[in-house]
């Protein structure tokens, strides 16, 4: 799996949605992405990439596109 696939899998697992529906427009507040799912999403991404996100990044991660941007800070390349 490449990093994009891994990230889609993390989103798919946490938000319980099929990977095909995940694109850059997917944002907090849409589908099943609410505040509780956000906690699961963070845990899922951290497990998938073996990283630990800082608080401000957890807060800023409000879309799939934003998640890709943030992960680059943790040396995850897309």
């Amino acid at each position: 799996m490449n990093n994009l696939e891994k990230l889609k899998k993390a989103f798919s697992d946490a938000l319980e949605i099929p990977t095909e529906t995940i694109n850059d427009e997917l944002a907090y507040g849409s589908e099943s992405w609410d505040s509780v799912a956000h906690l699961a999403l963070v845990a899922s991404i951290e497990t998938e990439f073996d990283i630990m996100l800082a608080s401000d990044d957890v807060i800023d991660m409000s879309s799939f596109l934003k998640a890709k941007e943030i992960l680059q800070k943790y040396e995850v390349k897309f």
């Binding site: 507040g29 609410d34 505040s35 509780v36 906690l39 630990m52 996100l53 608080s55 807060i59």
Partner: protein, 366 residues
């Protein structure tokens, strides 16, 4: 940069009060106009109070305020139902009425951002292993989140490997608790819970079981009000000293906040005072004359917050008594107004106020 962006871009608790008031006023004027145009009940109230939004208010003291209990009797929102992301409800401890706060995406994100700005200024940007003194059942109902659930989830963003320490009967999972603190003993942890629950279900259980620990670098944050503990004669000082005695926790911070203004919380400092963050302010009002009171005098707490975009909750009259201790000069080093909460407004006085302001307001939306 507009006022709200500027308030968020500056370090938390760093803005001189005169500058902060100017920035808040710009945003509060904007919010008052917006809600007047988009929320019919709010418009009715302001019309009945003979308040006009044609001209901007010159002082934050002039911004009209709604009694917080209004949200318990009416569904008041400034957005169409289709934009509602989630509805927060309060538990309604003293009566059976429940607050109903409709949030859209923008308000929800602002609340989260505001909370992050406050909390990280206390605990840093690194997420800590986190113990939640509650049961995970509290956050399971997604469509309508209780104030308790929203508080837990909001704070959980600042922790990792979350451990819900209570079972569904509110019993401490003692063995798992001991394992968790043992596993994380080499780093600071974050413990969060509601004041009464931390006392009743964590502290008392540990004391009765003779379990002690030395969590000297751990941070305990708690909220939810003191009423139940004051009934047991437990003051904030006693709360801190007993938790230190039992668990060795030195950093214990209470905060004052309400479901009607989530995110806009007033955290206790090392001196024991509650501090207003960049994007909020408190005023103290006399409950006879409704005039604002000077530093040192006790009256009803009014809270102003610029986060409320989806409902007219930017200026609220609480049912709590408070006293402003000072502005910008707390020994802890944080700028802003700092204050104490001195209990609930006695019922008799509340009836007194409802004769005037609250009653006018309530009548105008009935």
């Amino acid at each position: 940069m507009n006022a709200i962006e500027e308030l968020f871009s500056l370090p938390e608790y760093s803005i001189d009060n005169s500058k902060k008031r100017k920035l808040l006023l710009m945003e509060l004027n904007e919010l008052t106009r917006f809600h007047y145009s988009n929320c019919q009940p709010y418009k009715n109230i302001l019309n009945n109070l003979r308040v006009t939004t044609e001209n901007a208010f010159d002082n934050i003291e002039d911004v009209p305020y709604l009694p917080v209990r209004l949200f318990k009797t009416q569904k008041i929102q400034s957005i169409p139902d289709s934009e509602v992301l989630k509805v927060l409800t309060s538990s309604g401890t003293t009566n059976q009425q429940v607050s109903h706060i409709a949030l859209n995406r923008e308000t929800s994100l602002l609340q989260v951002k505001a909370l992050a700005s406050i909390i990280t200024s206390y605990i840093g940007n690194k997420r800590l292993p986190m113990i939640i003194i509650d049961t995970d059942a509290t956050i399971k109902n997604k469509s309508s989140m209780s104030a308790r659930g929203a508080g837990l989830v909001g704070l959980s963003n600042f922790g990792r490997n979350h451990f819900f320490a209570l079972d569904e009967n509110m019993d401490l999972k003692v063995d798992e608790f001991i394992n968790y603190i043992d596993k994380n003993k080499n780093e600071p942890m974050l413990i969060f819970g509601f004041t009464f629950m931390v006392w009743q279900y964590l502290y008392k259980k540990l004391k009765d079981s003779g379990i002690k620990a030395n969590l000297s670098s751990t941070i305990l944050i708690h909220s939810g009000g003191w009423k139940k503990l004051l009934d047991q004669a437990v003051s904030n000082d006693k709360f801190k000293s007993e938790l230190f005695e039992q668990l060795g926790i030195k950093k214990i911070y209470n905060f004052y906040g309400m479901v009607e203004q989530v995110g806009s919380i007033f955290m206790e400092c090392e001196e024991g005072y509650l501090h207003t963050p960049n994007f909020a302010e408190v005023l103290i009002r006399d409950y006879i004359t409704w005039k604002t009171l000077p530093t040192g005098e006790t009256g009803i707490i009014q809270t102003l917050s610029i986060l409320a975009k989806s409902y007219p909750g930017h200026s609220l009259l609480t049912e709590d008594l408070g006293t402003i201790v000072g502005i910008d000069n707390c020994k802890c080093g944080r700028k802003g107004t700092y204050f104490t909460v001195n209990g609930r407004v006695p019922k008799a006085e509340l009836r007194g106020c409802s004769d005037t302001h609250a009653e006018t307001v309530l009548n105008s939306v009935r």
